[in-house]
Structures are given as C-alpha cells and as structure tokens.
C-alpha cells in the first residue's frame, strides 16, 4: 500500500487531499458537517502550506458561482458543502456542468430540512444526480481521500471537462477518525500534474461562455453534454485503474461482495456498505448465499456493469437513504429498476428506506433486509411499496 499511515477524520482527509492537489482557488461557505474541510483549508492557506486564493463568500450560491468563474480561467478549484448549502447552489450546479467548469466539490451528506437535522441522509447527493456532475461515493475515510484526488484527474481530463462531487456520509465519515494511507506530495504531483486549461477566459483572447441559446442550438448542446457525461465513463475507468496501480488500493465503479454465487443481495451507497458486508460475511458463515453491491461511482451510473453483476440474482434489495415523495420508488431504486428492466434475466427488486437524518443502520436491520430478500426470492412476490426500516411505529 503506497503512502504513510495516519489517523484523520473524513473532513480532514478531504482537506489534506485538496492541499496535496495544489488547488489554485477555494471558494466555500462553512456548513455542518463539512465545516472542518473549509476550516482546515483556510488554515493551510493562512499558514502558507497551500498557495491558493481562499474566497470567503457570503453564501453557497456565491461559493459555486465564484468556483465556476475561477475554473473557467483555468484554475484548479475546490468547494465543499452539505444539505441546504447544496440546495442553495442548485441553480449554479447546472451552470457549472453546462459551462464545463471542472470544479471538484466535497459533499458531507446531510438531510434536507425541515425539520432541521445535521446528520446523514443522501438527499443532497441525489439532488445533484440530474445536474451533469460526476458523483462518487466514499465508503470510508481512505476512500474520501483517494476519491478527492481522483476526482480532479477525472474532471480535468480533456475527454471529460465536467465537475465532480465526492460524497462522504455526514458525521459517520466526516467527523470520525480512521487510519488511512496518504501519499507523499511528490507522488500526488506525479499522479495529478497541474491542470491544463481548455479555452480559458483570458482578456487577451476573448471567448464567450453561456450566451443565449434558444431552439436553434440548445438541444444540440445538451446532446453534446449528454455525450460528454457518457464518455466520461471510460476516463473514470482509466483513472481508477491508474490510481489502483499507483497506490495498490483498488478502485472500481461498483464494489461487490459474494456476488459471484449470491442468490440475494443488497445494493447500497456510502458508509453503510461496510455494515452490509459485515452482516453478509456473518450470514455466509451460516451458509446463506448473500451478496452486497455498492457504488463508488454513482453518476454516470455504471449500468452495463450492474447488468452483468445481477444476472444470477433472484432478489435484490435496493436501499435508499432518502425518499422521493410521490415517486414509484426512491432514487437508487429507480436507477436500478430502469437499468435492469429490459434484461431477460434479472432479479426481483424491492426498495428499502433507511437511516434518514442519521438513524443508525444496525446489523439486525441488514439481517432483516436479507431475510426479506430470501422471502421475495422464494415466493416470487415483491412488497407493494417500499419498506421503511429502523422506524418507531
């Protein structure tokens, strides 16, 4: 394993990666549970460890606006937010990706208000899913660090030029300390050379960004953007492969456990994937053929990979840490249902809602989900609607 073993919480690990990425501009507004990232970065800039412009903006809307502007001048740019902060950025999220501004953002996943809650839901991650940003999910502190470095490489690649979000579960990862291997600055520079700007905003060579674009060309430009997102997948694979080889830490769009011969499985995002695997290992010892599928890459959604992986499964429980009101299913459930619908051989699907606002996902909850999955597999009958777990009735 390349690097030096140290103990950091998720936020500090992200800030450390951003420092090593040698960003030029940071524009961010502090919001729990991401605050430590912004605090650490302002410290790094203040004490001279990082030579960057730190823009202390007055809101998240301004944070992302400033980030977009900076990225278009050719700067390497980082911002961070959570929950309501992302909601306030929403307008600019679309503009960032559509102007191909290669901003990297850390999202300390936190529930949307109301009621006010500072703990983890994936509401914010899902709110960004349609906006043209690449989205990664970290399962632990090591991944939060590694994915931050890789996000810059992916976003700034000339085949991609799209902004990226690195999701890390609020408190469970942002404020919790784990051991992780951090690379030497020299190694980071080797993996991530300085950004090479494409059509930068430059007074000597004027270019136009974001002009009026009506029914004459708008749809063509959206089509191009769709292609860019689709094509980013091959670059992401390349960067994952390069980083895996460089560090000895394997990165793939989808992580699996036991999927080769599993009868039933759970699909899940973020830090709970480890809890699901922890339970799956236990059940495997009892002879139960269970598996876990977790997504390191959420957008672009690794659809063809998922189709291959789910072929032998009888039932798949899709677990969402959010809710989509009035929808036929929550967000990951709909992604997976759409991905598998035209497959000849596909598992029965059902949707689990868990963990909203930081409610702990305990091993007994995961066991219940696996039991339910076996029941669905055996009876061939799926629940009529989603199942909420860990809820007091």
């Amino acid at each position: 394993m390349r690097g030096r073993l140290i103990g950091l919480n998720g936020d500090t690990a992200v800030a450390y990666a951003v420092k090593q990425a040698d960003v030029d501009v940071i524009a961010a507004y502090p919001i729990t549970p991401q605050t430590i990232i912004v605090e650490k970065l302002s410290e790094f800039v203040n004490n001279g460890e990082l030579n960057a412009a730190f823009v202390p903006v007055e809101s998240e809307h301004s944070a992302l606006s400033a980030s977009v502007g900076a990225a278009l001048t050719g700067a390497r740019v980082f911002t961070a937010t959570a929950s309501q902060g992302l909601a306030l950025m929403y307008e600019i999220l679309w503009i960032a990706s559509s102007l191909r501004a290669t901003v990297v953002m850390a999202l300390g996943n936190r529930a949307f208000s109301a009621p006010i809650n500072i703990h983890c839901s994936h509401d914010d991650a899902y709110a960004a899913r349609d906006t043209g940003w690449i989205e990664f999910f970290a399962e632990n502190v090591q991944e939060a660090y590694d994915l931050t470095l890789q996000a810059f490489k992916v976003s700034e690649d000339k085949q991609v030029l799209l902004p990226s979000i690195v999701n890390l579960d609020g408190f469970i990862l942002t404020h919790s300390l784990e051991g992780l291997y951090v690379l030497d600055d020299k190694d980071v520079r080797e993996f991530l050379p300085p950004k090479e700007p494409v059509y930068p905003v430059d007074p000597e060579h004027p270019v136009t960004y974001g002009p009026l674009d009506l029914y004459d060309y708008y749809i063509e430009h959206k089509r191009q953007q769709a292609e860019a997102m689709r094509n980013s997948y091959s670059t992401i694979l390349k960067v994952f492969e390069e980083y895996s080889e460089f560090t000895g830490r394997k990165y793939e769009p989808i992580k699996t456990y036991g999927i080769e011969d599993a009868e039933v499985a759970i699909a899940i995002l973020g830090s709970s994937a480890g809890t699901a695997r922890y339970v799956a290992r236990k059940l495997r010892k009892e002879g139960k053929k269970v598996g876990v599928i977790s997504f390191t890459l959420y957008r672009p959604f690794p659809a063809s990979e998922l189709r291959k992986l789910t072929r032998g499964l009888k039932a798949l429980a899709v677990m969402d840490r959010s809710y989509s009101f009035g929808s036929p299913g929550a967000q990951l459930f709909m992604d997976i249902a759409a991905t598998l619908f035209n497959e000849k051989e596909r598992p029965l699907l059902f949707n689990i809602i868990y963990g909203l606002g930081g409610r702990d996902l305990k091993p007994e909850h995961v066991e219940y989900v696996f039991d339910k999955a076996f029941e669905v597999a055996e009876t061939g009958e799926t629940p009529e609607s989603e199942i909420w777990i860990g809820v007091r009735e």
Binding site: F171, T275, K362
Partner: protein, 188 residues
Amino acid sequence: MLIEVRWHGRGGQGVVTSSELLARAALLEGFHVYHAPEFGPERRGAPVRAYTRISDEIIEQHFGIYEPDVVVVIDPTLQSETEMILTGLKEGGKLILNAVKPLESVVEKVKEKKVKLYVVDAYKIAMDVFGRPFYNTPMLGAFTKVTGLIKLESVLKAMEERFSGEILEKNKFAAKRAYDEVEEYVLP
C-alpha cells in the same frame, strides 16, 4: 479481536479527545481503528459520549456501539446516572470510574451485570497536576492500565502528536499517574 469502548463525560471535558487519542495510540500499534464522537447540540456541561472501536482486522462496520467491552466515565458526577453508564456493557466487561469511591447504586448494578469495576481519583490527579478539572488524559492512562490493550508509550506518543510544551508534559504526567493509581474495586 475487536474491542469497543464507550466514553462518558460532559461537554468541555475532552471526552472526544480521549477517544481520539486512544484511536491514534492503537493506530500506532498497527490496529485498525474507528473513533466517533456522538454529536448533538454542543453545550458545555451536557452529557457527551464518544466511541472507539479497535481491531486487528479491517473495520468495515459503521454502525454505533451498543454493547461495549469497556465503559470509561470521565466525569465524577456521572456515576449517579447508573443506568446510562452501564447500558449495554457486556458481561465480563470493564467499567472505569473517576471516583474516590463508587456509589451504592453502581456497586449493586455492577454485581448484577457481572462486570468488573475500576476506580481512580482523576479529580485529585487533575487538581494536583493542572490545578483544573481536566480528567480526560488521566482517564486514558487508567484505561491503558486496566485493559492492557495498548502500551502506555503509545498513548504518550499519541499525546505528543496532539499537545506540546508544558501542556504536553502535564498531560503525560497525569496519564502516567492515573496509570499507576487506578485499582480494581473489590466488591463487598
């Protein structure tokens, strides 16, 4: 091997710091660690908890700790919350109190739950060393002795990464003193 620890104290007493220093010390010895503070509204004086998970295997699980092997109570007044501090403590587990003497209610509950009780007067140590009620590093010293899980040197080294100068020396001294003074409380 998996050891789970729950720390009790009050806001401002360094509960989170104790748990973090333990995790860092264990990391220095090659263990896998997870340290999680419990967050609510941050209020000085309100009961606060922190959790440490230490294992020789990779820690994948990210759920809370409900059945700790060890409970450390940093604040001397919290032993009156007997139910709270003993909740979930495993049979054969260890309860470490900052006290001159445990309360009756604690002793009874300790017998009932078949756990071991350890006591150290960290209040006195803190007042002698710091002149202020800083209990967290002494209680970490006591933990180190009682569990034998990691070496005192590792704990002191973790402190060196966190503190410096006179503060460091005092914290090291306080931890060592509690390490020497903590005793198993023989149940009557």
